[in-house]
């Protein structure tokens, strides 16, 4: 606003009181506006960048990227927000008239400064103009400290800062679940997906993924479930598939057999392979840890819910990795011979849960049981290293090889396709993610992917 030509006495008083006050308030207000806009924009964009980062690190999210690639935009975006906010604040800058009006309103001055500026603008031609200027000057003298509009301005900024804090605290609130799974999507290799012949690689090559393969991947520990799942996939019966996934998940999560099995194996390995036959250990059915057992006992042949004495071919183990018909019903199970080499991998069929991947050479112990297939046999323990193989079955019959690692004794029997050198804890998220992506690529509806996710979550919980 151009200063009008005034008499010397008026000009002097205006220079002394009104204009300096208004210009000082104007500068402060504009600074506050710019700072608050900058802070608000920075906080919002930082929160958005945090959200972006969260999605990048989220298990099953846009994995496969390195942290640097995700962090760089996350740091750049708030910087851009700072600049954009400052620019926005500058666009909101007040002129002198608006400043005077704000001062009038905030101090309840009945628009005296606005009127004074108007009188100056028109050259004090009105009857009351000089009196108004005099009153404005007196008001200017009384003003010591305007009440800066910080509260409404802070309100916006605090909202943005709260959003930013939420983004920071969200991973913390999620706890170890997030931090444990995060590395899986932060650049670690995913052999199942990326290796030659993996689902992703084949998808990129345009090769279809067969239902049998997908089902075998999902239910690698239970061939019968795998077959049923393959049938369901072929038939497009997603509800049946969901039921199978749910059943597998419940088995993992709620069956006490896992804990019993773990304890049995622990004792077996510690005490030279003393295992009770199934009918001699009814406590297994209730999930009660068994006591000491004789060396002639088989590993086990039943599962919770089955009556003691269930024929082996109908039992849990009997389902595992059956090869061909077994009319004798002795539940012969064949897996890789646990002779310390990697023979198990050479089998025609893929290894399954209780066969497992045969231990690495020099890294396994072998326990061979002879006798009535799964319901009997002789236990033999051959300590060769950190891994143990348990064979069940009679002489000349098919044998079950059970391999476990020292650091993850029970779960060695789960996810047998993984590289034995990879710890179970590291393999589980990869496999979970691979399974979810495979399901997604196979066109399975999202709700069924949830079951797969649940399945692996239960597995992880069991592992803990």
């Amino acid at each position: 606003m151009a200063k009008p030509e005034l008499g010397p006495e008026i000009r002097l008083s205006l220079q002394a009181q009104i204009y300096p006050l208004l210009q000082w308030v104007q500068r402060r207000l504009n600074l506050i506006l710019s700072a608050v806009e900058a802070a608000t924009c920075t906080a919002w964009l930082a929160a958005a960048a945090g959200l972006f980062l969260l999605f990048r690190l989220w298990p099953g999210g846009a994995g496969g990227t390195n942290m640097r690639g995700a962090l760089l935009p996350a740091l750049l975006v708030p910087l851009l927000g700072l600049l954009a906010g400052w620019w926005r604040g500058r666009r909101k800058h007040l002129n002198l008239a608006a400043t005077a009006f704000w001062l009038d309103r905030s101090l309840r001055l009945q628009e005296i400064f606005s009127a004074a500026l108007f009188c100056l603008e028109r050259g004090c031609t009105g009857m009351f103009d000089r009196e108004i200027l005099a009153r404005a000057e007196m008001a200017a003298l009384r003003i010591k400290k305007p009440s800066w509009p910080l509260r409404p301005l802070y309100r916006r900024t605090l909202l943005a800062v709260a959003a930013l804090l939420f983004m920071v605290l969200l991973p913390v609130a999620l706890g170890p679940a997030f931090s444990r799974q995060a590395p899986s999507s932060s650049g670690l290799p995913s052999p199942l997906m990326d290796e030659e012949g993996g689902f992703l690689a084949r998808e990129e090559e345009g090769q279809p993924v067969l239902p049998e393969e997908l089902a075998g991947f999902l239910f690698s520990h239970d061939r019968e479930l795998a077959e049923r799942a393959a049938e369901a996939l072929r038939a497009g019966d997603m509800e049946a598939l969901a039921g199978l996934l749910r059943e597998a998940g419940e088995e993992m999560g709620h069956s006490p057999a896992w804990s019993v099995a773990a304890q049995e194996l622990e004792k077996l390995l510690a005490g030279g392979g003393e295992l009770l036959p199934e009918e001699e250990h009814p406590g297994r059915e209730q999930g009660i840890p068994p006591g000491p057992r004789s060396g002639d006992d088989p590993v086990w042949g039943g599962r919770p819910g089955e009556e003691p004495g269930t024929p082996p071919e109908e039992g849990w183990i009997g389902r595992v990795r059956r090869e061909g018909e077994n009319p004798s019903g002795e539940g012969r199970v064949r897996a890789g011979e646990g002779s310390g080499g990697r023979e198990g991998e050479d089998d025609e069929a893929q290894p399954v849960a209780f066969a497992g991947r045969a231990g690495e050479e020099g890294m396994s112990r072998e326990i061979k049981g002879e006798g009535g297939g799964l319901t009997g046999g002789e236990g033999e323990v051959n300590a060769r290293g950190e891994n143990t193989e348990v064979l069940a079955g009679g002489p000349g019959e098919e044998k079950t090889v059970i391999t476990r690692s020292v650091d993850s004794p029970v779960f060695e029997y789960v996810l047998p396709d993984r590289d034995p050198r990879t710890p179970f804890a590291a393999a589980l998220p990869q496999t979970a993610r691979a399974a979810e992506e495979a399901l997604a690529r196979a066109g399975v509806p999202l709700e069924y992917e949830e079951y797969v996710r649940l399945y692996f979550q239960e597995l992880a919980r069991e592992f803990e």
Binding site: L94, A98, R105, I112, S114, M127, I132
Partner: protein
């Protein structure tokens, strides 16, 4: 006028108004807001439409005002058979000194400074139009001859909102010519007791003139000199535009219930009333509060409800309060620095639920 003289003049204006107010209150018990608004209209040379049930002092108020001022006063009781000539005057045959006859214009009651048009809605539209034309033009044309009305000239019309049978409601265009529409409410219990005591004794209170015509004219001139800063004028314009249902700034209630809103005459009345209020409070510039306080009396009769508004019983006063609440005081200020208008009731609700017209602090 020097600054000192200005200050003295302003103080004098304020004292004069205070004297008139006190004089009126010798007769009129309570009704302070009504008295203040009538005085504001007087300072702005604006006509007033007083609406209220019978027997609450409307006519008495006008009489008291006339008695407080050294001005001529006329009362016209409007009836269906009242003719325009009864208001404006007529030419009559008079014998001159030479024994012949001349036509001489005999001025009607409208030629008084203060005219009380009692129950204006009972007269025929033709008679109403004659009066309202005189109100607007401040001249009367009889037989091709213009007769200027005296200055100051103010019409204070009353109407009864209850007895609508046999009445002729004022057309919107004519209602718009009133500066204020003031709702006169029942007195409170304390006021009623005081009224009983003061009017049932042997000596009836009366008013004596305390303000001359010249002083009143000076006051009216001073009101026009009151400064309205551009942002305050802009706020007045936004308030008026917000009452128009087709405008972007219109509130939801206005869009839903209003057929037409206030026009430029409403904006003029709003700003003039704000000026008068500011001067009455000893200020030389009008502010936002001045505008907000006179929105209801200045705009309520310039807003017409549509069918929805009439059928659902929408209140124009509530719609205006919503306008005050919603319209930003300063458009140029960022949203963070803007303040909302006063609350809808504003602490000014009356006991019957109607919003009071405002002249707080005057």
């Amino acid at each position: 006028m020097t600054m000192g003289e200005t200050k003295l003049a302003v103080d004098k204006y304020r004292e004069s108004l205070e004297r008139v107010r006190e004089e009126i209150h010798r007769v009129i018990i309570g009704q302070e807001e009504v008295v203040n608004l009538v005085l504001l209209a007087l300072l702005c040379e604006g006509h007033v439409l007083l609406e209220g049930v019978p027997g609450i002092g409307k006519t008495m108020l006008v009489r008291a005002l006339a008695g407080s001022l050294s001005l001529s006063f006329a009362r016209i009781q409007f009836t269906p058979d009242l003719m325009p000539a009864d208001i404006l005057g007529t030419s009559i045959v008079m014998q001159n000194s030479k024994g012949g006859f001349d036509l001489r214009f005999e001025k009607g009651p409208v030629f008084a400074h203060l005219v009380l048009a009692d129950e204006i809605n009972r007269a025929s539209p033709k008679t109403q139009a004659a009066l309202l034309e005189a109100m607007q033009e401040r001249t009367v044309t009889i037989r091709g001859e213009n007769h200027r009305l005296p200055s100051p000239f103010q019409v204070l019309a009353t109407q009864n909102p209850l007895e609508m049978e046999g009445t002729y409601p004022l057309p919107e265009a004519q209602v718009d010519r009133f500066f204020f529409k003031i709702l006169v409410d029942y007195p409170s219990e304390a006021e009623l007791v005081e009224i009983i005591q003061s009017t049932s004794g042997p000596n009836l209170p009366s008013c004596s003139p305390v303000l001359s015509r010249e002083e009143l004219l000076a006051l009216q001139k001073a009101v026009r000199e009151v400064v309205v800063p551009p942002n305050v004028a802009g706020y007045a314009a936004r308030l008026v535009l917000a009452t128009q249902p087709g405008e972007e700034a219109a509130t939801a209630g206005i869009r839903r219930y209003v057929r037409y809103g206030a026009g430029p005459r409403g904006a003029q009345a709003l700003v003039m009333a704000a000026k008068a209020r500011a001067l009455g409070m000893g200020r030389l510039n009008a502010g936002v509060e001045d505008l907000q306080e006179v929105v209801l009396p200045a705009l309520r009769h310039r807003i017409g409800l549509n069918f929805d508004g009439l059928s659902e019983g929408a209140s124009v006063d509530q719609l205006l309060l919503e306008v005050i609440k919603e319209v930003p005081v300063e458009k140029e200020l960022p949203a963070e620095l803007q303040e909302k208008g006063p609350p809808l009731d504003g602490g000014r609700k009356r006991k019957d639920g109607r919003a009071a017209s405002g002249t707080r602090g005057l």
